[in-house]
Amino acid sequence: MLEGLVSPESLSLSYADMSVPERLKWLQQHQQQEVLSLSSNDSPDLLQILQFHGSNNDELLQSTFSHFQMVGSGFGTNYNMGFGHSHEAMDGYISRTSSCQIHSPDTMGVMLKNSEENRAISLKNKRKSEVKTREEEKTEKKIKVEAETESNISNKEASSDTSKETSKGASQIQKLDYIHVRARRGEATDRHSLAERARREKISKKMKYLQDLVPGCNTVTGKAGVLDEIINYVQSLQRQVEFLSMKLAVINPELELGVEDLSVKQFQAYFTNFPVVIASKPSVMVDVPLFPLDQQGSLNLSVSNPNQTSIDAPSESWETQSQSLFASVLR
């Protein structure tokens, strides 16, 4: 069964046992249907894979099975039963495929196995022993080769042969401590390229966020264009801030305190569309400058009382604060 395809990388799961249950839960939530379809479609592939694995790695697989059993014990008896199945089915290919039909309780396990299996498919085209040893080395490294299930499953289903299907690049199933990278078929599986690929994926993900943020970036393709747009946008934003601050500086002297606190209330109205209530006490505001405001006049920047605006403002302003650093900086 698919369980037979647990490869040595899964040994590295022992490093992050806590992450595995989370990951498995996530997988379970999202992956059940894919497993079903996958299991129904892929028997020829499975057979090939099982042959590949069954001949070489029985002890290794069994050890990883036991590991999975430990890990999976939290997920209920069915999960372990699925594993038990696979243990017995280690020898028989067909029995493995049949145990693949175990549905929902086994989905997590199957999902994990799918991942290993897909990796196996990609590895199939390389020399087995070298790859195996290299992978074992990889387990010590932080960047692990682990399957990214959804794309793998989709790939498996889309292709009748495994041979022509490339599994997808890295996508992080879940942001764990480790960076999970998917080894592409035909690409080197040594540590450096994997690390590079993980790094590139991170960077491209961040660029995608930026593209969403900056308007007008969607039309441009390529990193250079997007970066150009981002630079222009940041510069324009900074210019806007300068312009607005100059405007504020101009009207600042006219900014009477009462009016200012009034306007704070106006902000609330502005934001929440409440009818304007001129309830602030202008007389109280006028008293503020009479107070001997020292350097320690209050800039309560770390005191966040977001919704207490005008009424609390005068009281805060004449407490001597420990934010003298900030206030004195202003001077």
């Binding site: 996508s171 930026l210 601050s245 800039l299 900030f326």
Partner: protein, 202 residues
């Protein structure tokens, strides 16, 4: 996340409904933002910033009574208020605040250079940006350097760090601009409010 959508083609009948729902979910999810960016879009954050800015401006006006606070000082104040609103979790906010501290120390030691420093900073910023853009041979790299100089505190940072800081910085600046325009419009039309009518801003 984008790779999930092709999956839906192979749904079996039993799983079709859940797949459809997931397909909808997944198709919605790609334009997702990191949660840290959402905070800059919230009204609450804007109010926090507005109040802080209001306090800071008042302080500035009180501390600099005779010269009208020039635009640069106001801008510094606004940036500092923004950095505080960021709660120091980002590089750029910490850089802005530490810049202010350094300025303060230098001001205590020597009075005159402090005034010229902001001038130099902005001037050199523009010149370095132009200079870097001129030798654009390794294009992407140069642009990243330019960007890292634009965002405060990211001059010697690696690319993923720069990108992250840029996203947060852009979101924060957008909020800053919104808050400042609101403040300006509120202040610049006080007459209607003193009558205290049903007029609602914006």
């Amino acid at each position: 996340m984008d790779s999930i959508s092709p999956l839906s083609n192979q749904t079996t009948t039993t799983s079709s409904s859940s797949d459809l729902s997931r397909r909808k979910c997944k198709k919605k999810s790609p334009p997702s933002r990191p949660p840290s960016l959402e905070k800059w879009r919230s009204e609450k954050q804007q109010q926090i910033y507005s109040t802080k800015l209001g306090h800071a401006l008042r302080e500035l006006r009180i501390s600099q009574p005779s010269p009208n606070p020039n635009g640069r000082a106001v801008r510094e104040v606004a940036d500092r208020a923004l950095a505080v609103a960021a709660r120091g979790k980002t590089l750029w906010s910490r850089a802005i605040l530490s810049k202010a501290v350094k300025l303060k120390f230098r001001k205590h030691k020597r009075q005159s250079p402090a005034l010229t420093q902001p001038v130099i900073a902005t001037g050199s910023l523009r010149s370095t940006v132009m200079r870097i853009k001129a030798k654009g041979l390794p294009a992407v790299q140069r642009k990243v350097k330019v960007l890292s100089r634009l965002v405060p505190g990211c001059r010697k940072q690696t690319l993923p760090v720069v990108l992250e800081e840029t996203t947060d910085y852009i979101a924060a600046m957008e909020m800053q601009i919104r808050a400042m325009t609101a403040l300006l419009s509120a202040v610049s039309s006080p007459a209607e409010h003193e009558e205290g009518q049903t007029h609602v801003l914006g």
